[in-house]
Symmetry: C2
Subunit: 454 residues, 2 copies
Amino acid sequence: MPAPAHRITAIDTFDIRFPTSRELDGSDAMNPDPDYSAAYVILRTGPADGASGGADDGPEGHGFAFTIGRGNDVQVAAIRALAPHLMDRDVAELCDDPGALYRELTGDSQLRWLGPEKGVMHMAIGAVINAVWDLAAKRQGKPLWRLLAEAEPEWLVAQADLSYLGDVLTADQALDLLRRGREGAAERSALLRERGYPGYTTSPGWLGYSDDKLTRLAKEALADGFTQIKLKVGADLADDVRRMRAARAAVGPDVRIAIDANQRWEVPEAIAWTGALAEFSPYWIEEPTSPDDVLGHAAIRRGVAPVKVATGEHAQNRVIFKQLLQAEAIDVLQLDAARVGGVNENLAILLLAARFGVPVCPHAGGVGLCELVQHLAMFDYVALSGSTEDRMLEYVNHLHEHFLDPVRIRAGHYVAPDRPGFSAAIRPESIDRYRYPDGAFWAEDLANQGGVAE
Amino acid sequence: MPAPAHRITAIDTFDIRFPTSRELDGSDAMNPDPDYSAAYVILRTGPADGASGGADDGPEGHGFAFTIGRGNDVQVAAIRALAPHLMDRDVAELCDDPGALYRELTGDSQLRWLGPEKGVMHMAIGAVINAVWDLAAKRQGKPLWRLLAEAEPEWLVAQADLSYLGDVLTADQALDLLRRGREGAAERSALLRERGYPGYTTSPGWLGYSDDKLTRLAKEALADGFTQIKLKVGADLADDVRRMRAARAAVGPDVRIAIDANQRWEVPEAIAWTGALAEFSPYWIEEPTSPDDVLGHAAIRRGVAPVKVATGEHAQNRVIFKQLLQAEAIDVLQLDAARVGGVNENLAILLLAARFGVPVCPHAGGVGLCELVQHLAMFDYVALSGSTEDRMLEYVNHLHEHFLDPVRIRAGHYVAPDRPGFSAAIRPESIDRYRYPDGAFWAEDLANQGGVAE
């Protein structure tokens, strides 16, 4: 008997906020008090002729946009605006071709005006599209990185959003890259499962930490097997010199120290400030200025060499990445799993990076960004770039305990996930506790403040 | 007795949608069925110690973001997320320095993550900031263009958002531009009130119109005194050739015909398609490709000269405009009053245009965009660029009847507004009728469809 057809029976959304600002975890020059949050969506599936919640329900698709607190409700509203595109859709059709839904969502002729392809509306599309890929991987019984690494190159090209990239990357060129990427993929897949994917850690370097805490955490990072750490900079130059000196003393001359200004500077200021830290040999300067300023990053790169320039966590879409590469503005491309329009757009961004020969070191941290983006980095290694040289995946040791399939780190490396899906699911008890404003944590917190939620 | 201090007593928001898709007004290659909409905000003011709605209430500040239908609710949610920044604020302080509020809103350390400075959240800031300027102009008893044109250059520089522009425009350079702009301002102000500001019209050229309607409306435009019209292109080349031929035949060789592809093309396609229309001498090609693609626009400009390149209605912020100018990617800068962060950011964009010597031909149309942007263009003429050469303000004859202070057109020119404020207020009866989904129009419409609002 063939399996009964399944459809999307419900699109449930959640405003989940973790009170990270209480600990100064995640503090940097632009974001002094983030409450790491997820605008979270669950696609429920069930028999085409049944209601939600029955015994014959199929797997769920989970996805989310990451925010840092206020406005998470706006992000949830944007996801809800997409629900009519999803309700009652045939699950097999969606999972066979997530790209069709991606084009439908990014092409919605009225919603498109709210971007296009940027900000709240685009991140909402990313959340939904990633949830569909989670569902697709579960249905295939594979972790997403394996689904992608084992997919036919022709199908992957059709999934990648190559629109507006025609001046630098045609479908034929993308296909060539993916075919070449498949050579030796089986061996790399085995190596990946054996050794994992190299990580680096930002945990020592938050701006709110004392020098002692920084030093202690930096040494712990080395002991844990990491070979690169990252420091937040940009609030006060004298402080940065002192903290950078402490960090370099803690890790010695051979460990890479990246620095991250979180968009704090004007272009000339970025060059001067980075120059003032040059004696401590920073490996890269990350987000030196506005994430929209392609030409500014190019000028900064010329001005700070041999320090490398890295950006991407706030790059709104593939068109910005295309230009960062065209303008030779970056040495390191920091793809983010939940900023752009999901896997379909990130496939295009990985293809762009491969075409220009620029290494991808994904942005992670936040809520669940490590869990998501590891799949993209591992696909890139196994079946596209084929290399981990100068490639590292950011690791921050926050909030993993809330995930059903949390990342695992061994000797400074991400262990390849083996559970089916995109590792996106947050534990039901965590959702219940941190739902804003009615989850147990916030209800109590707001009552203690004598306040009410906005 | 001094006037009592006033505060913001309420921030009222409205989801207003006009059913323009029924008439194919506003149809183009990317936006086939827009329902022109406003995410609308009213700042109510009253005595510091009183409640809203009393006899001593002060003037209201009106502002809005323009959308084209679905998602207008998301845009309203974003405006609501800003309300805590506004509630109970002292009105005189706000109006004396809207820039302080602008920096507070764009700098909100958590909301910032949702952009930064782009898309839904940034347009929400624009709506609120423009409402404050409306209030400020009403309190001074001047139309906004006069408030700006008569303000001290030092104060204007402090209002303009020059952040991330330091590599091309310093505060001193901005001050120089504004001081030079003031020379002869009184004469130009008098000329403006006498003759108005030149407009051009898009009304003949919507993609959904027949050739006969196009021809008739183009001739009417000439008879009405316009010296430039605009046609939507980009859906089908053979259609475009036929429509362009009809338009050229209708207006003769001396009237400028701009064409507008609404982001439809890849970069090489834009060059080829524009080339195929060259025999009809288009004046500019507008939005040939992604609004995010600065380098793409630069390549297109090199490829289509002497046809000019114009863009801006979807340029998300001043950083994109800075780069469009740095890369010599545009001949015409199409500032929009409601896409970016309001007057404070648009002052910076006008200063950038002046610095690079590129003419500003603002985008208008939609709901109330003509009403708003005329003030910025007139300020630019009177007290910054000092010129109307190659400058024209878009005019579309839609929906003005819903405004309390609608634009007035005389002999192809915008008549300078003389009522105090920013001309942003929609008639209360129009708000009541077109509120979505509960206004009289939509309630009836949805009942007739047997449907309910999403």
